[in-house]
């Protein structure tokens, strides 16, 4: 858990760095996100005068929900957990809760941009979630459970070569979804503050200081959780079934490598595509939907 | 008093009342006599009911009191009493508003009681000829009452009424003659050959062919009087033009009396040429009436015409129930006769008060009655809901019974038509009455306090309506069962 939370900003930093490189810039250090966070934590807060008491709680709740999701991602060990905490659906549920609260918070300040961000976010989310679930289902149907650890164990270590068509399609769908779920180009642009194009940033607009820090940290965490989800769904390599220091170490390194790979993919996509118009996004997600549906069909028929 | 005495007293009482009234001019005294006469009639009817319940049917000359007749007699007595109570307050307002001339009141009352007397005779008549004579008598008296207001609409309605119904029941007479012709060969000529009881005794031996023709004549004839479609066209005119209390009697009792005539012939026909034919005929007429009434209820603006068409629908339901037949169907039909009579009278009363308040029968003008006359409006709403067949009101129970009678033998088509029309009509009446009771009242409405006597009468009827919706008392149940046996033979 803590490991994931701490690792989260690094992934963002890495992606930024990579992008800079791809755009042949030096770019900031990979540790930049940590610096931002500490800086924000030290700053004071400016609150909208119209905001209610809820507004101050939002970052807390969002962060808590997101971090709680990390507890459900199998990082190092596969197999059914010692104490059953939750499954993929609960994980998605927690992420949805975080998004819900974030959107609510965005409306609290009563500015146009918060509303715009919230509205767009809540337009895209309902389209992403079903596809995401279907991807999970396509994996779960094989294993007969939606518990990530068990799923991973079921897939085992012989991954790519054991894949059948359904897995490939499912992975394709996941690849399509990844930018959307992590709030990146071509669906959203994390770097811009040009009001008319931003989704996620729009919702953060009114937050400041430690509050903003929580929100930013939450989004880092959300990103790594998503990546972790993908890796445990499709590349459960190195998830040790047994305990033991070596196994643990191996698992961690394997996880880092997998996440790094996915991060690279994101960076590549971001630097090679332009952001889509909001109303083109449904079509974009439609591709993912079709992939997922076909994957399911293949599983069942 | 012996039942025989009761038998001849029953028609005499209203007749005497009628004559007595001709001598009086003052409104209050007239009303007093009116109420006392009706009360006496009601008590006598109850006494007779008790006597019959204990010692079985009684006959006296051309009169005969069996449970079948009692069902109708009790209805008649109740409604007459209610009407008399209602008339007290209604008349005061009517005279004040110039709707009724103070000097012609005695004729009005005399006619009403003459009308009642003739109806009593139709109900008690055992001799089919007497039945016919009394039936024509009701036509003559009530026709004068329909045209009593004397304006062109009243006269038009009266003319249509007397002409069409006279034609109708002259067909009825033809049917009677034919049955008599068929029976006289077995019973021997003379008045007894027209006695329903005597004919029933020999019914199985009667020549089916001629009985069949006779039944069709009687069916169409008395059906005209009962307002079965497509012979119903006079009914909305007459019932809407008559003074409100008379409308209540016409819709509440008179058409039921005609129905009693039909039932008498139906029993003979069923015994002579099998149950199938009369059942078929009744079912067809019933369905036609229900269907025909529907569009006119939906697209109606005149409140009293609306109620008239409702009578057509409900008389159709009764006919349908008789057509379904069997113990359940007949039981349901008789129950429906009572329930509809009570409810319809109540609706006419409530409508009458509404019309008096707004000075019009146009339902587009009558609005927001709750604000103007809360009690009257509530009663109107209740009665309308009952008319539409919602519990806990009486008509729901009888329609339920009718439905059972239809579903049991599996008359699916009839049941389907019946239910569809009932739902559509429900929509219609709830639409109309809802618009009249809710919302803002239109300016023309008078906000005078509600007179007590109409409210009393309505409360009386509403109480019966709700009671019969919540339960069927054992005594009443036994009465209906016996009556059913009489019909089924």
């Amino acid at each position: 858990m803590a490991f994931l939370v701490l690792l989260g900003p690094l992934v963002t930093g890495a992606i930024q760095k990579l992008k800079a490189r791809l755009q042949s810039r030096t770019g900031a250090s990979v540790l930049q996100p940590y610096r931002d966070l500490t800086k924000l934590l030290r700053k004071g807060t400016v609150e909208a005068d119209t905001a209610s008491g809820l507004f101050r709680m939002i970052p807390v709740l969002v962060l808590a929900a997101t971090v709680a999701a990390t507890a459900l991602v199998p990082v190092v060990r596969a197999g059914s957990p010692t104490f059953p905490l939750g499954d993929a659906l609960l994980l998605l549920g927690l992420l949805a809760l975080a998004r819900f609260l974030m959107a609510v918070g965005a409306l609290d300040a009563g500015g146009a941009f918060g509303g715009m961000g919230a509205s767009r976010e809540m337009t895209i989310a309902p389209l992403v979630e079903p596809v995401l679930m279907m991807v999970v289902f396509s994996a779960a149907l094989a294993a007969g459970t939606t518990e990530l650890g068990t799923l991973a164990a079921h897939r085992g270590s012989s991954w790519l070569f054991a894949w059948d068509a359904a897995d490939f399609l499912g992975f394709a769908a996941m690849i399509v979804l990844l930018p959307a779920e992590t709030g990146r180009i071509p669906v959203d642009n994390p770097d811009t503050h040009l009001e008319l194009t931003m989704l996620h940033e729009g919702m953060l607009l009114e937050h400041s200081g430690p509050g903003l820090a929580c929100m930013v940290l939450a989004s880092h965490t959300r990103q790594i959780v998503t990546l972790g989800l993908v890796s445990s769904l499709f590349f459960p390599v190195g998830l040790a079934v047994g305990a033991g220091a070596t196994a643990l170490l191996f698992g961690v390194t394997a996880f880092v490598v997998k996440v790094a790979l996915l991060a690279t993919y994101l960076a590549l996509v971001e630097s090679s595509y332009a952001k889509l118009r909001l109303f083109r996004v449904p079509q974009y997600l439609g591709v993912g939907f079709v992939c997922a549906l076909t994957a399911l069909a293949l599983r069942i028929l | 008093m012996t039942p025989e005495t009761l038998l001849w007293l029953l028609p005499v009482v209203p007749a005497v009342t009628a004559l007595a009234m001709l001598a009086v001019r003052d409104r209050r005294i007239l009303s007093a006599i009116d109420v006392t006469g009706s009360a006496t009639l009601a008590t006598l009817a109850l006494l007779l009911a008790r006597a019959v319940a204990t010692t079985g049917p009684h006959a006296l000359g051309v009169f005969r009191a069996d449970d079948l007749g009692l069902v109708f007699l009790l209805l008649l007595a109740t409604l007459t009493l209610a009407v008399s109570i209602y008339t007290v307050g209604w008349l005061r307002e009517a005279v004040a508003s110039g709707e009724m001339q103070a000097d012609s009141l005695r004729y009005y009352f005399a006619l009403v009681h003459g009308f009642v007397a003739t109806m009593v005779v139709t109900i008690l008549a055992d001799n089919l000829g007497v039945l016919w004579i009394a039936m024509e008598g009701t036509t003559i008296t009530s026709a004068v009452l329909v045209g009593f207001h004397g304006h062109r609409y009243g006269l038009e309605a009266a003319w249509k009424y007397i002409i069409v119904t006279t034609i109708g029941i002259s067909f009825g007479l033809f049917g009677t003659v034919l049955i008599y012709a068929a029976a006289s060969t077995h019973v021997g000529a003379g008045a007894s050959a027209m006695s329903w009881a005597a004919v029933m005794a020999v019914a199985p031996q009667l020549d089916p062919g001629i009985v069949q023709i006779g039944f069709v004549f009687a069916m169409v004839g008395y059906g005209t009087k009962a307002g079965l479609a497509p012979m119903h066209l006079w009914l909305p005119d007459a019932h809407s033009q008559a003074p409100t209390p008379v409308s209540a009697l016409l819709s509440g009792v008179l058409i039921k009396c005609a129905l009693l005539g039909i039932i008498r012939f139906q029993t003979i026909a069923a015994a002579a040429c099998g149950v199938g034919l009369p059942a078929q005929v009744l079912m067809v007429f019933g369905l036609i009436s229900i269907v025909v009434a529907t569009p006119f209820i939906l697209a109606q603006h005149d409140l009293k015409r609306l109620l008239g068409y409702h009578s057509v629908e409900h008389i159709g339901i009764v006919a349908l129930a008789l057509g379904f037949g069997g113990p359940i169907g007949t039981y349901g039909a008789l129950l429906h006769v009572i329930n509809h009579g009570i409810t319809k009278a109540l609706v006419f009363f409530a409508a009458g008060t509404a019309i008096a308040r707004y000075g019009t029968r146009d339902m587009r003008v009558i609005r927001g009655m709750f604000a103007v006359a809360p009690i009257g409006a509530t009663l109107l709403m209740l009665a309308a809901l009952s008319l539409a067949g919602t519990p806990p009101f009486s008509i729901f129970i009888s329609e339920l019974t009718v439905l059972r009678a239809g579903i049991g033998p599996g008359h699916w088509l009839a049941v389907a038509i019946f239910l569809t029309m009932v739902v559509v009509i429900f929509a219609g009446i709830l639409h109309h009455v809802g618009a009249m009771t809710f919302g803002r009242p239109s300016t023309v409405a008078s906000r005078a306090p509600e007179a007590w006597s109409p409210l009393l009468a309505m409360a009386l009827l509403a109480a019966i309506m709700i009671l019969l919706g919540l339960t069927i008392p054992p005594t009443f149940d036994t009465l209906l069962r016996r009556a059913t046996e009489v019909v089924l033979g």
Binding site: I300 | I167, I472
Partner: protein, 691 residues
């Protein structure tokens, strides 16, 4: 327990009689009536729990006085009845606590008569629903059914400002009547076969039915109850009638009355009409599943486009009924079909029942909260609200709670039942091959979509209503609702939390209904096999592959994390906190900058434009030249397709027909006579000649 039934009936009766106090004082009548209602509700809870906690297969029987010669009337409370009685009573408690204060705060100058009417009809409404659940024979069932409908109709029209409620009530009453007619046919067909009215006799009679008859009856029943439950496309009355009623009644109608229809459906499908020891016909389950899915998706889609707070909630009832039906339909499909003792059917039915009580809780809560907004602002249009979170914090908080719950977000109850539904769907899919499985999975996807859209809808509903700046004077001067109203809401809120955080403890109350319906293992035997703290769905029978979650653990974790995050939120160093106007590109912000509900839903409106067919009209008033624009008027609405395409047309058609027929009729007496003559002629030809 019989005593409990008596107490329940007695209390409701007393409550109804409380109306007699109205002439003395309307306020007193309200108090007494609702208090008695509360007593009835509590008694109901007692009865229900005693049956649900009692011995398996126990049925509480109580004959009623023979009101009608043709039918014996009786009460019979088995597991299913008890469960629904529990649901009714739980919400009834909240409604009766909430009611009096609401009615007074909302319309202080309403006459005593209205108070009396409302008291009578509320108690009859509650009593009718309770009686319906306990009914042991067809007649009691039908009478209670109609009584319930009539009472709720009166309540709908009781608060009528301009006759619109009368229209809504009319639509409601007519559709209910139509549905009931179908039920009558179904019931009476059985009673006439059985020769008796009690359910045991009906069961026996149904056993002798041929498949065709069985199917006909089922679909009649489905249509009949579907109308009441608001299944698309029979739902059009629902979003009109529910908002029109007083809010605590809306809560009852949406939260409970619809469920009573579900009760009837389950009673028929699994109990009365079910073939002996054979699976249900395939068509039944699939029809229900499809109807449920369609209702769920369309319900939430239409809800998204509403500006009227209560109307929005009403559409969400359509959605949730759909979700319940998905579970129920799945159970119908699986029952007695799957290998291995029918665990999945139990899961599906458990999901459906759990969602029934969950929806009752959070939808009741939401309606009550909307009601307290309504009674303080007298505005139902969200666009004119806003900024209420600061003015009525309790209401806002509880509404948010309900919003999270209905959006199926952890850790509240909505998530639990939808999770179970998902698991059941998934399990069914993994068992079935071919298109059937695909269909089930597609339904699961639709359920996911529904959840997402619901979340979006409630971000809008909560945000626009309670957050930002007040957009009208009404909202400006709103005050917090009276204590008793808040109490009513807190009761339901607590229910939502309990069912979300510790659902395992509620499972044992689902044992009796599930077991008695499916004749299989009870809910708790399947779902809480690993103890009450853990929910497990035995997709392949409880074992290694069973999916297990622990709502309790996750909630604890959340609490801990919130505490930690709160520390973080305090920040390092103690930098000052300032207040400043919201950033609006440097302009001075005003209420016009706030995002409106219409604007919020706009993107989704465009995404689903094909379904919505939105109507919009833009009127530009220019001053002489087209270049100088005075004002631009924008009017847009999304209309219910079922309403415009089906119902409006039927209505218009029937009315036109009737009018044309009426116009044709001439008042000439010759026509009258002609008809009589013609009838005799035809009648003689047809019936006069002896064949």
């Amino acid at each position: 327990m019989t005593v409990g039934l008596g107490m329940m009936a007695g209390c409701y009766g007393v409550g109804a009689l409380g109306a007699l106090l109205a002439p003395l004082s309307g306020r007193l009548a309200l108090r007494v009536g609702h208090l008695a209602g509360l007593g009835g509700a509590v008694a109901g809870i007692g009865v229900a729990l005693s049956v649900l906690g009692g011995a398996p297969g126990m049925v509480l029987r109580q004959p009623l006085p023979d009101l009608f010669p043709f039918a014996r009337m009786s009460l019979a409370v088995d597991g299913l009845s008890a469960f629904f009685l529990l649901v009714v009573s739980l919400v009834a408690v909240a409604a009766t606590i909430y009611g009096p204060a609401y009615l007074q705060a909302h319309a202080p100058d309403a006459g005593a008569t209205r108070a009396g009417v409302q008291v009578v009809s509320l108690n009859l409404f509650l009593g009718g629903m309770a009686l319906l659940c306990c009914a042991g024979d067809a007649l009691t069932f039908l009478l209670a059914w109609e009584g319930m409908t009539l009472a709720s109709y009166v309540l709908v029209v009781s608060e009528d400002e301009d006759g619109t409620n009368a229209q809504a009530g009319l639509l409601y009453m007519v559709m209910a009547h139509g549905g009931t007619a179908l039920l009558f046919v179904a019931f009476l067909t059985l009673t006439e076969r059985a020769g008796a009215f009690d359910f045991d006799a009906l069961r026996a009679a149904a056993a002798g039915l041929d498949p065709a008859g069985r199917n006909t009856l089922f679909f009649l029943v489905l249509l009949g109850f579907g109308t009441k439950a608001g299944v698309v496309p029979l739902h059009v009355w629902l979003p009109r009638a529910h908002p029109a009623a007083p809010s605590h009644v809306s809560a009852l109608m949406s939260g409970v009355m619809l469920k009573v229809a579900i009760y009837g459906l389950l009673r028929f499908a699994f109990d009365l009409l079910a073939p002996v020891a054979a699976p249900l016909p395939v068509g039944w389950g699939w029809t229900v599943l499809v109807a449920g899915t369609v209702s769920a998706v369309l319900g939430v889609l239409y809800a998204l486009q509403q500006h009227d707070l209560k109307r929005l909630l009403a559409f969400h009832s359509v959605e949730n009924i759909g979700i319940i039906l998905m579970g129920a339909g799945l159970a119908m499909i699986l029952w007695r079909r799957e290998a291995g003792g029918g665990v999945l059917a139990t899961v599906a039915l458990t999901a459906a029942l759990l969602h029934t009580v969950n929806h009752a809780a959070f939808k009741g809560l939401l309606f009550l909260a909307a009601g307290s907004v309504l009674c303080r602002t007298h505005v139902r249009n969200m666009e004119e609200l806003g900024g209420l979170a600061r003015r009525m914090p309790w209401t806002a908080g509880l509404f948010l709670l309900g919003a999270v719950a209905i959006s199926a977000l952890p850790p509240l109850n909505g998530f639990v039942s939808e999770w179970l539904t998902f698991q059941a769907l998934l399990g069914a899919a993994s068992r079935s091959h071919g298109p059937a499985g695909l269909g089930i999975v597609f339904a699961a996807a639709m359920l996911a979509l529904t959840g997402g859209l619901a979340a979006a809808c409630f971000v809008k509903a909560f945000g626009v209503t309670f957050l930002g700046r007040p957009r009208s004077a009404h909202a400006e001067h709103a005050r917090e609702a009276p204590v008793s109203m808040i109490l009513g809401m807190v009761w339901l809120g607590a229910l939502c939390v309990f069912l979300g955080v510790a659902p395992g403890y509620a499972m044992r109350f689902l044992d009796r209904p599930t077991a008695s319906l499916l004749h299989g293992p009870g809910a708790s035997a399947v779902v809480t096999a690993h103890g009450p703290l853990v929910l497990a769905t035995g997709l392949t029978g409880a074992g290694t592959e069973a999916t297990t979650i622990s709502m309790t653990a996750i909630s604890v974790l959340l609490v801990v994390l919130i505490a930690l995050a709160w520390l973080l939120r305090r920040g390092l160093g103690h930098a000052p906190r300032r207040c400043a106007p919201t950033w609006t590109c440097g302009m001075s912000p005003s209420a016009r900058f706030d995002y409106t509900a219409t604007a919020f839903a706009k993107p989704l409106r465009m995404v689903f434009a094909a379904l919505y067919r939105p109507r919009r009209s833009v009127i530009v008033e220019s001053a002489g030249t087209p270049y100088v624009v005075r004002r631009i008027r924008y009017a847009g609405e999304v209309v219910d397709l079922a309403e415009t395409q089906i119902y409006r047309r039927v209505e218009v058609g029937v009315t036109r027909l009737a009018q044309s027929i009426r116009r044709r009729s001439s008042g000439r007496i010759h026509v009258y006579i002609g008809f009589v003559l013609g009838t005799l002629f035809v009648a003689l030809l047809f019936f006069g000649v002896r064949r």
